[in-house]
């Protein structure tokens, strides 16, 4: 098919758009936004058509490959997993670009903005359709770069500059783990092949890597007294990368700060697309995870913990965007948890997780864009100063409410009726229950269900504080222009119905991705037992809805009707509130203790002073010699008698010395 052959254009067009916009943007209206919009639209069309093709024939994956350097290639692999992501990313990116035309209309640096978002889109699309782990890493870093640039878009604000740096550095920790994983993987493959690299085969392609899974499991190393399979190490290191990029505990600290960037950036990068790259990485290499003993347990536990941990902070934030940021972290936790459930449900976990990923992309992007719309209109992020915005901005209000319902997960269990978030989050929570029954570990389920309650609470707190009641400050405001509201409405539609439309088809489509691999055999290698499921008790099925409704009701009572007085809880006296409000003192721990005290003052200054010592040693030698010369020259007294004495003494000493040495030897 012709469209398939154009697959390489998917990342290249936005990349070209980046270059064009960067250099020509200033000369075009609205910062040259039209260039990336057209480019991404074409990418989107190609992606969608390839996806359509794949839907018709899931086995017909698109592959393209060119030699890059040494023994590496650049290649394209569009299988169902990639196709879905491509379509979502290009589509959401397109909408957000259109939205940004209105949102960024007052900013003088528009060309830079559109160039950078185009760069991001290119990198993200490149990441998704990589057919090898290195190219994925390359694009992985490039999206990190775009994220850095876009968070720091308003670089003249010290907060933005600092947040950009923090985001880059924190994710960099994960990236290094990812890189270490690739290094270890390659070294192991090298060892398995006994140093004889086959000609014409690119070993870092996913398909090639998967062939080595049994050999990799067999290699063991003893680390800290534990016998660990190298596959476990590799997957854990990959997961480390995912933890950084997808804002999982403990590397999530950058994500709330990343809200310093323009809201469109938050929507595109820090909600819908880039942060899901970590989830995508795990999904992409899922066969390795499935075969690695112990890894999926770690994944599930960490995902569940992050889901709850972030949600607790979400309920106390007063900044519109920060609430959404914590919500993103929490939802990413769900996705990671979903992947971890592979331990009991196998490849289905990828389907579940990806489904949530896509749905989340729609409703979270929508939430951010709505927030952006509000901020654009009223000029503040602080919910305590808002209130009653719904009257001024009805479209925003409506779409945001739809998104909130999707996030909180409203729907009727057992049917396909419900907001998209419900239809994708529910299977994860159910999966967690299966996980609990199969492994006896209830923690993921308990965390997930508690987080579901908190999710509902914080998102409706946001809705009520922002849109209902009376204005708490004088902000004026107006409904946003149509270039903003049309994307809102489009996304709103998707947030409401996408889940319901695609539910069944989606899962099977994604699962078909791994059809050619024997997932059960892989699970055997990893020591996981995939059991049948689908017969959960009714309470378990209804539980998510129950907690969601509970959350809504409590939020309504507190923040709309003000029935419950929060003043005693929300005070600096309350240690729990203080802990949450200060975000568990992560900043203090990470920045002040870890970065400043240990890394900077400890190690860097220690090196600094040790280097001073070394330098002193070198300079000291020269000083010593010069001083020695200064003393020795005093022998040259200028008096002839002394000179004569030196000659005579020299003769005498030389006779004695020569005599002595001759005697001794």
């Amino acid at each position: 098919m012709a469209m398939e052959n154009l697959a390489f254009l998917i990342p290249l067009l936005p990349a070209l758009a980046f270059v064009l916009t960067f250099f020509l943007g200033k000369k075009l209206p609205s910062g040259g936004a039209i260039i990336p919009i057209i480019a991404i639209a074409i990418s989107c069309v190609i992606s969608l058509s390839i996806t359509a093709g794949l839907l018709a024939n899931p086995g017909h994956v698109v592959t393209q490959s060119v030699h890059w350097f040494a023994i590496l290639n650049l290649g394209i692999l569009i299988d169902p997993l990639a196709a879905v992501m491509l379509s979502m990313v290009s589509f959401v990116s397109l909408l957000i670009h259109i939205y940004a035309v209105g949102y960024m209309s007052h900013d003088p640096a528009k060309p830079r903005y559109f160039a950078e978002t185009a760069l991001f889109t290119a990198a993200m699309l490149g990441l998704i359709l990589s057919d090898n782990i290195l190219q994925l890493f390359v694009c992985w870093e490039l999206v990190g770069l775009s994220s850095y640039l876009l968070i720091g878009f308003w670089f003249h604000k010290p907060g933005a500059a600092s947040a950009a740096k923090k985001a880059f550095l924190t994710t960099r920790i994960g990236d290094v783990m990812f890189l270490a994983g690739i290094v270890l993987l390659f070294a192991d493959i090298f060892a398995i092949l006994e140093g004889k690299l086959p000609e014409g085969v690119y070993l870092l392609q996913f398909e090639e890597i998967f062939k080595f899974i049994p050999d990799l499991v067999a290699i063991n190393s003893t680390i800290l007294g534990m016998e660990v399979s190298h596959l476990t190490l590799v997957t854990l290191l990959f997961f480390g990368g995912a933890v950084g990029k997808s804002g999982q505990f403990p590397l999530h600290v950058w994500l709330p700060d990343a809200m310093e960037g323009p809201t469109t950036v938050s929507a595109l990068i820090h909600a819908a697309t880039m942060v899901t790259a970590g989830v995508y990485l795990v999904a992409r290499t899922f066969p390795m995870f499935l075969a690695a003993p112990g890894t999926l347990m770690v994944v599930a536990m960490l995902g569940a913990f992050t889901a709850l941990f972030a949600a607790t902070m979400g309920i106390v934030m007063n900044d519109l965007k920060r609430v959404l940021a914590f919500s993103t972290i929490s939802q990413l936790g769900y996705m990671v948890l979903g992947l971890g459930l592979g331990a009991v449900i196998g490849a289905e976990a990828v389907g579940v997780s990806m489904f949530h990923l896509i749905n989340h992309a729609f409703f979270k992007a929508l939430l951010f864009l709505c927030a952006g719309s509000v901020i654009h209109a009223v000029g503040t992020h602080d919910m305590r100063q808002l209130g009653g915005v719904g009257k001024v901005m009805p479209i925003t209000f409506a779409t945001m409410t739809a998104a909130a319902l999707a996030l909180a997960g409203f729907g009727i269990p057992g049917t396909s009726i419900g907001f998209s978030g419900f239809l994708s989050k529910d299977p994860i929570i159910e999966g967690a229950y299966v996980f609990a029954t199969q492994t006896g570990n209830w923690i993921p389920y308990l965390f997930a269900i508690s987080a579901a309650f908190l999710t509902s609470l914080y998102i409706f707190r946001l809705i009520f504080m922002t849109f209902t009641g009376k204005p708490r400050s004088d902000y004026g405001g107006h409904e946003s222009p149509s270039s903003m509201t049309i994307p809102l409405a489009t996304l709103g539609v998707f947030a409401v119905i996408f889940g319901a439309l695609t539910r069944g088809k989606f899962m099977t489509f994604i699962e078909s991705n791994f059809e050619h691999l024997d997932m059960n055999a892989l699970a055997e290698l990893g020591g996981y037992h995939l059991g049948p499921h689908g017969h959960e008790p009714l309470l378990i099925l209804w539980m998510p809805l129950i907690v969601a409704v509970a959350g809504l009701v409590i939020a309504y009572l507190i923040y709309n009707k003000r029935v419950i007085d929060m003043s005693r809880i929300v005070s600096s006296e309350n240690p729990v509130y203080k802990l949450l409000y200060n975000r568990y003192y992560q900043h203090q721990i990470f920045v002040e203790i870890f970065s400043v005290k240990i890394i900077y003052e400890g190690l860097a200054l220690a090196s600094f002073y040790s280097d001073k010592m070394l330098d002193w040693l070198v300079n000291g030698t020269s000083t010593f010699l010069i001083e020695a010369g200064d003393s020795l020259r005093k022998f040259q007294t200028g008096v002839i008698q002394d000179y004569a004495a030196a000659v005579v003494a020299g003769v005498g000493l030389l006779v004695i010395l020569v005599k002595l040495i001759m005697e001794v030897f």
Partner: protein
């Protein structure tokens, strides 16, 4: 056939003399530019007629020089030296363009020194006779000594003399090693011969194990001081940071230490009495340089010193990759030399601009420069990103190859190097944030962006960084060919 190698060495030296006798700045810079452009054209011609699938010496020239000592005038180029010659031939004309409108005393001498330096450095890369090699090797010291001494910063006297003597000591120790090799081979075969390949080949036949190790260590010392490698780096921060921008860039282009590792040390390595010990020494020094340099860079308050230390950190990859002993790790190390030359040129050029425009390079005294200097910021961010190893730029290719393929033989050192990556990112971003972003420091007064000359030369280098980051094969392929050759030489001994 054109004696192209002699020409690319002699033309810069010739033009150096011409430039020295020019009267005005205009004449000086034009003469310098013409000289370097001719060199560039010749180098490009050589590059395009170069066969990157062959590990043999190409464009060889040989003539008797001092027959009574077995010294010949022997030049040649292969995949190890070609990229480095290319690097010099490309960056130096750009450097001259970069300094086009600079105001400084005695411009004729300034440009003459740049050209002399170019001739000397290329001379090192093309020499295939140890005598000639050493002659050029030492000659590279002199222009830099003058450069720092005449146009250097406040502490130039100290920096220049320290650099001069420290590296001279190292060169002399290396010379002793060459002597050892030369005479041992002489007494073995009865004829004096200074030819590099011959002497390296004779190394394995030396009877005494102590002599072999001593010779190896002496040569290694010479090379790693120049590279430089911790703990023999003390000369570098002072020299790099006190030198004028052009001097710093010339320092960066002085890749002769790492070149020596590939050309001389690696083929000899398997035949030392204790190869594994030597590998450990090299690997450990490389890894220590990487992480120690990174921490030191993090502790610096001066932008230029920070870049200097970051250079130490980056050059650690060269030593580590060389010690990795897998053909691709060696290629990675070679590529790191090439890439480091480009990246650091941007870094020092950016820093130079900041220093001349604001009068300071203390990071905390800067701030918010991006608002006044958008063009510089774009190039500088690109340079910094390349330096911290961002994929898509040259630095990543080199680091990836070195890390991945050194891991096979020395996992511990690679893990140390991996830890340093985060630190590397930290100091780069920290410096960018403090110097370029945030609110503008009003004390700095009125600042204008870089001139179009500067933008041109930095921009071209930046483009090269991107180009080779995505398409490294034009230089990487020949490196791989040669490193496979080196490894195959080692494999003969089963190391």
């Amino acid at each position: 056939m054109l004696p192209i190698l002699s020409l690319i060495v002699l033309i810069p030296i010739l033009f150096s003399a011409v430039t020295f006798f020019t009267k005005t700045k205009e004449q000086a810079r034009i003469s310098a530019l013409v000289g370097t452009l001719i060199t560039l054209v010749l180098t490009m011609y050589m590059y395009f007629s170069f066969d990157s699938t062959s590990a043999a010496m190409q464009f060889e020239e040989a003539a008797n020089w001092i027959p009574s000592l077995g010294i010949t005038y022997h030049l040649g180029v292969d995949g190890v030296s070609m990229p480095l010659i290319l690097l010099n031939a490309i960056v130096i004309p750009l450097l001259i363009i970069y300094t086009w409108n600079d105001v400084r005393a005695a411009p004729n001498r300034f440009y003459a020194l740049i050209l002399a330096m170019q001739g000397a450095v290329i001379g090192v890369f093309v020499s295939l006779d140890f005598f000639l090699f050493y002659v050029f090797w030492e000659l590279t010291l002199v222009p830099l000594f003058f450069m720092v001494n005449i146009w250097g910063g406040a502490n130039k006297k100290h920096a220049a003399i320290k650099f001069f003597i420290y590296t001279h000591v190292a060169s002399l120790v290396m010379l002793l090693g060459i002597f050892g090799l030369y005479y041992n081979a002489w007494s073995l075969n009865g004829v004096p011969n200074m030819d590099m390949a011959y002497l390296i080949g004779q190394f394995q036949f030396l009877e005494s194990e102590i002599a072999r190790d001593a010779i190896f260590l002496a040569l290694l010392f010479g090379f790693i001081v120049k590279t430089p490698v911790v703990p023999f780096h003390s000369w570098l921060p002072d020299a790099y940071s006190e030198a004028p921008t052009a001097g710093s860039v010339l320092f960066i282009l002085l890749k002769i230490g790492g070149y020596g590792l590939f050309r001389v040390m690696l083929p000899m390595l398997p035949f030392t009495a204790t190869p594994s010990l030597m590998i450990t020494i090299m690997g450990a020094l490389g890894a220590i340089s990487i992480i120690y340099g990174a921490f030191l860079a993090l502790a610096q308050k001066d932008l230029k010193r920070m870049i200097a230390y970051s250079s130490i950190s980056h050059m650690g990859y060269v030593t580590l990759g060389a010690a990795g002993l897998v053909s691709l790790s060696i290629s990675g190390a070679m590529f790191q030399q090439f890439s480091h030359g480009l990246i650091m040129s941007i870094m020092f050029m950016s820093c130079g601009v900041i220093q001349t425009k604001t009068g300071t390079s203390i990071i905390n005294n800067l701030g918010g420069l991006a608002q006044k200097m958008p063009k510089l910021t774009v190039i500088m961010v690109l340079g910094f990103m390349a330096s911290l190893g961002l994929p898509g730029l040259t630095g990543f290719i080199a680091e990836f190859l070195v890390l991945t393929f050194s891991f096979i033989n020395m996992p511990i050192y690679v893990i140390i190097a991996l830890l340093a990556i985060v630190i590397t990112a930290a100091y780069h971003l920290w410096a960018l944030q403090r110097a370029m972003f945030g609110t503008f420091n009003e004390k700095l007064g009125d600042i204008v962006d870089i001139s179009s000359y500067q933008a041109f030369s930095m921009g071209v280098i930046a483009l090269l960084v991107v180009y080779f980051g995505w398409h490294p094969s034009p230089v990487l392929d020949m490196m791989i060919t040669n490193s496979e050759h080196i490894v195959s030489l080692m494999a003969v001994m089963g190391v």
